[in-house]
Amino acid sequence: MAATMTMNTSLLDDDVCPVCQTDRYLNPQMKLKVGPCFHKMCENCIERLFAHGPAPCPTCRQTLRKATFSEQTFEDLSVEKEVRIRRQMSSKFNKRREDFKSLKEYNDYLEKVEDLTFKLVNEIDVETTKQEIDKFAAENRDLIRINADRLLNESRMATHRQEMLRKERQQHREAYLKELEAEQLAKSEDRKNLIQELATSDKSAKTILAARQAISLKKTSMRKTEVKLTTASSAGSTPMFSDSYRWMQQNDDMDRRQQEEEDDQANDNFDPVQSQYMEVDLGVGYVNSVNNNKAHAGGLVYPLLTSSIGVKDLYVEPLGVGNLSQMAKAGGYRNAFGYERAIEDAHTALYLPGL
């Protein structure tokens, strides 16, 4: 899946092949590929150099083949290298949690894998690491194969499931369309018949219409129950898939209903200072904490005097200062909060002597 990713082409405008120095002006379709030694080359150069078999890389002199060059998926070559190494490792080291008796063993295994990967990526003891890996691969060959098969199976199941889901959805849609069509047809039929009857029979128009209406109501209700039954029956056959579908549908309905409710509520009583906030302990500042009339301010704890002094809910505010309560409300505070603070400040330290 990652191979389908391509790089952002705007970054490639000033690319130059390090071997032949062509840039995008000379060769608009130039594509740089990366070899196992992580040196880039344009496709023409690769063709030219490796057409007659393996040859040394012009930058580092490692022997390379044409086949070992691949497209670059990551801008950063070190990432590219690491990804390649990890891909190789994961094809060999594919043990799962279930293969281990305890979590610790699993974690140890993972750590060992990481160690080896790290060594390979940073080119520490490459030879010994490769030997270790090979040894591991040889020892656990069977288990590796089993796990690989398991992985394959799982991916197959996943795609299959997706297919089924898609089919199911399509079926539903078709059924719905069909129903719509049938309804339309029935309606036009009805109308035709109605006109016929009005024209030909000798009962009064009113009675005919009334009778018609009764019949049509019955018909629609019957049809609805019919539809329900059919969907229920079809759902019963493949429970796994339509469950998820219905769950999704239900969720959609629920969301829609919730949205409507919220809209209604919003229009009814929009109150920015909802009363529920008034009792919340803000935790900072001179809030009259619920426990033991203590208050907290930035980690300091101190007793509140206003508990013994008694603060009223309403005071006359001094003129000429603007409306303090309105300003306080905008911040979400009760105006009593401001009174409390002022009165608290007025009475603290009143009896402290000077030096």
Partner: protein, 383 residues
């Protein structure tokens, strides 16, 4: 806005804690009383300190009048003697090198502590005027004034001219009280170069010991205004009393009251004085609030009332409550210019000598940032 403070100041008097809600609690410095599970039920009952008692203003910036006088005179004398020394030194160097002694001031009348206080009072009132123009709440202006007062407890006007310090204090106060004005706008409005303001900024912060939170009597005054409503019928009179009290607090700002007494006490004293002037019955409130029973009345009369009366006395008699005449201030300023320390003057020989000594590496310059802009520590962007 509350600063974390050290509760250990060895010199201050342990206050009589008034907290009626003495609860089982652990204050900031207390050991793990609840460490042992077995001793859970026998916790030590430690009365909680009130919030103001945990503030830096209470713990570090309270003095007795005598202490204030001593501090100021000490700093003054030190500076005067150092200037004298430097002048003599300068004279020596000049005679040694054959320069003239003509422009060296002789028989200087150095500034006394009184002169300094007068000059400072003049500049403090300048602060008030400028802040009136800005129409910010009064506590911002008060913070700037208090910063300046605290700064000049440990420095003299001969070290740093109060004009520069004034601007720096105003700039700093606007920052700490949340009415920030960028340095570009500030220097434009006040027609003064940004460099000089910023150069002093760190020094001012350091002298303030980074205690930026200042408690003022304005909020306690408002609190009393609310509280008095319980015993008032004539609301308009109470309104007048409150407004008058606010102006009294503004005058109290220029005295040393902020160091001597607590803001709530100053506020109550202001309300008391202004209710006398407006013929409002303060005693009724006092009886209702503080003298509800015998012991409370006793407490009020012995502890609180003397403080209120002392504050009233200061407000009546301290000469700093009165505007400083501009002529007087300019005269002192002239004398100040003559008292300049030659070591700070880049043209003087003493300065050059000291610089040479520095370059050689043996002379470690003092903390003063006056002459060396490179030494100024940049606290991020001084916006």
């Amino acid at each position: 806005m509350v600063t974390q403070s050290e509760n250990t100041n060895g010199t201050h008097v342990e206050p009589a804690s008034d907290s009626k809600a003495a609860a089982v609690a652990t204050t900031n410095g207390d050991a793990n009383v609840t460490a042992d599970g077995a001793e859970e039920t026998q916790k030590e009952t430690v009365p909680l300190k009130q919030l103001y008692e945990q503030s830096t203003q209470y713990n570090h910036w309270r003095y007795a009048q005598q202490q204030l006088d001593d501090m100021r005179s000490k700093v003054n004398q030190e500076v005067v003697s150092s200037i004298k020394q430097n002048l003599e030194h300068e004279a020596e160097l000049r005679t040694a090198q054959g320069h003239s002694l003509d422009d060296l001031p002789q028989d200087l009348k150095y500034l006394t502590v009184d002169d300094e206080l007068t000059l400072l009072g003049f500049y403090e009132r300048r602060i008030v005027k400028i802040f009136q123009y800005w129409k910010l709440p009064s506590y911002v202006m008060a913070t700037a004034v208090v910063y300046m007062k605290r700064f000049f407890l440990e420095n003299t006007v001969m070290d740093h001219h109060p004009k520069d310090v004034m601007l720096t204090c105003m700039f700093l106060a606007r920052k700490t009280e949340n009415y920030l004005m960028s340095i570009e706008d500030f220097s434009k409005v006040l027609k003064s170069p940004a460099e000089s303001i910023l150069q002093l900024e760190f020094l001012v912060c350091k002298t303030l010991r980074f205690h930026f939170t200042v408690h003022h009597p304005y909020r306690p005054c408002l609190g009393f205004y609310f509280d008095m409503q319980a015993v008032t019928e004539n609301m308009s009179k109470l309104q007048k009393v409150y407004e008058r009290a606010l102006t009294l607090i503004d005058t109290a700002l220029h005295t040393d009251l902020c160091f001597l007494y607590q803001p709530s006490q100053i506020a109550l004293a202001a309300m008391r004085i202004s209710s006398k002037d407006e013929s409002y019955d303060f005693e009724r409130y006092a009886k209702y609030k503080f003298m509800s029973n015998e012991s409370a009345a006793q407490k009020y009369n012995t502890q609180l009332l003397p403080i209120l009366e002392a504050i009233e006395k200061v407000l009546k008699e301290d000469r700093r409550c009165v505007e400083v005449d501009k002529m007087v201030a300019t005269e002192i300023d002239k004398r100040l210019k003559l008292c300049k320390d030659p070591a700070k003057n880049p043209d003087s020989l003493v300065f050059l000598k000291r610089k040479r000594g520095e370059a050689a590496g043996d002379d470690d310059d003092d903390d003063d940032d006056g002459g060396n802009p490179e030494k100024r520590v940049k606290l991020g962007d001084s916006a």
